[in-house]
Symmetry: C2
Subunit: 109 residues, 2 copies
């Protein structure tokens, strides 16, 4: 398993204010690459929608950001990490919608 | 990186028709556990919402199902795998909403 026992999955989907501006997606992706060095992040993936299209699929987002943390405590630390706050300061003007799914193991809690 | 180059992330969120029925969530989770043996699945995680709550967080789903595939082709095979079709036949009466996010590496495509 990629997720260790008590692991914490944080999956963020970004919709850009100006989706036609390729440079905005580029800037967001560069920001996420920098942010990926935040110390409590165990593993990460920066993605874009795949070329799939069925009724249940939401492929309207521009960029996805999948993070694995050791546990909820590490995710809480990340939320107020100066690197995270700097990313928000530098990049939040780029998006107009964000959805976050936080997930823990089904046997936890 | 958990996702190898050209990897494919398939993240599914289920909302149950009867979220108050614990046995329905249990049945869905058991179905997903069986389904996890489908041959093209590289790695998987069955989850429930974490105990986080901010404006951007959607914690209204009941169960999440994160799959990693080697590539899009393997995901396509999974869609019509008899195990997958059997899971849908046995469990689809349990949910009333599903959202799927398919994601590929930002450098792919």
């Amino acid at each position: 398993m990629i997720i260790e026992k008590n692991g914490f999955i944080h999956h963020v989907f970004f919709w850009l204010k100006n989706p036609e501006r390729k440079e905005d997606a580029f800037q967001l992706i560069e920001g996420l690459k920098k942010l990926s060095a935040a110390p409590t992040i165990k593993d990460f993936h920066i993605g874009i929608p795949a070329a799939t299209n069925r009724e249940v699929i939401d492929n309207s987002y521009a960029v996805s950001w999948l993070l694995l943390f050791k546990n909820k405590e590490d995710q809480d630390i990340y939320q107020t990490d100066p690197m995270h706050l700097k990313f928000i300061e530098e990049c939040s003007h780029l998006w107009n919608k964000v959805i976050v799914y936080d997930t823990v193991d089904v046997n936890v809690e």
